[in-house]
Subunit: 68 residues, 2 copies
DNA sequence: GCATAATGATCTTTAGGAGAACATTTTGAG
DNA sequence: CTCAAAATGTTCTCCTAAAGATCATTATGC
């Protein structure tokens, strides 16, 4: 499965969902879905905005976890 | 921007688009779009199947490149 | 306690991936 | 070279989930 570490990255930076939504320009609902890992599809533009804002690479945001 | 290295990974392994499509169960059109980097949205399930088949992590498949 | 902000939840709209079918190109055997 | 099969490219429809907006609920702090 693919695990999204947005909540962890946001926690480390003490960021709120609204902050991330406002700063990245990404819809708040989308951030919420990624935060709670209920998203099953992602726009590359969204990944781009998050990586740029969080100063991280794609591999830190999404991780491939063996099994299920 | 987000760069997809599927073509590079496939080249290294000398894989054809049909091979990847057949082995991963992912639609050939989807593989084609990722191969030519014309996709702007991706299913996490697709990323999962590709990582599993190619034996790589998400960061090797997608890279965040600064600029534009 | 109250006002404001943040989050959660839900609805509609819409973009684009998924899937399939057809066209074209490439490849290899004879 | 010729032909057939396979691989790739292209284009179409369908359908799902992100995007966007709104309302309800829950924190936060003054």
């Amino acid at each position: 499965m693919i695990k999204c570490h947005l909540s962890k990255l946001m926690g480390e930076r003490k960021l709120k969902i609204v902050d991330v939504a406002r700063e990245t320009g990404v819809n708040r609902g989308t951030i919420t879905r990624l935060y709670h890992e209920t998203a099953s599809r992602v726009e590359l533009e969204t990944i781009d905005a998050l990586c740029r804002f969080l100063g991280c690479d794609v591999g830190e945001l999404f991780e491939f976890v063996e099994g299920s």
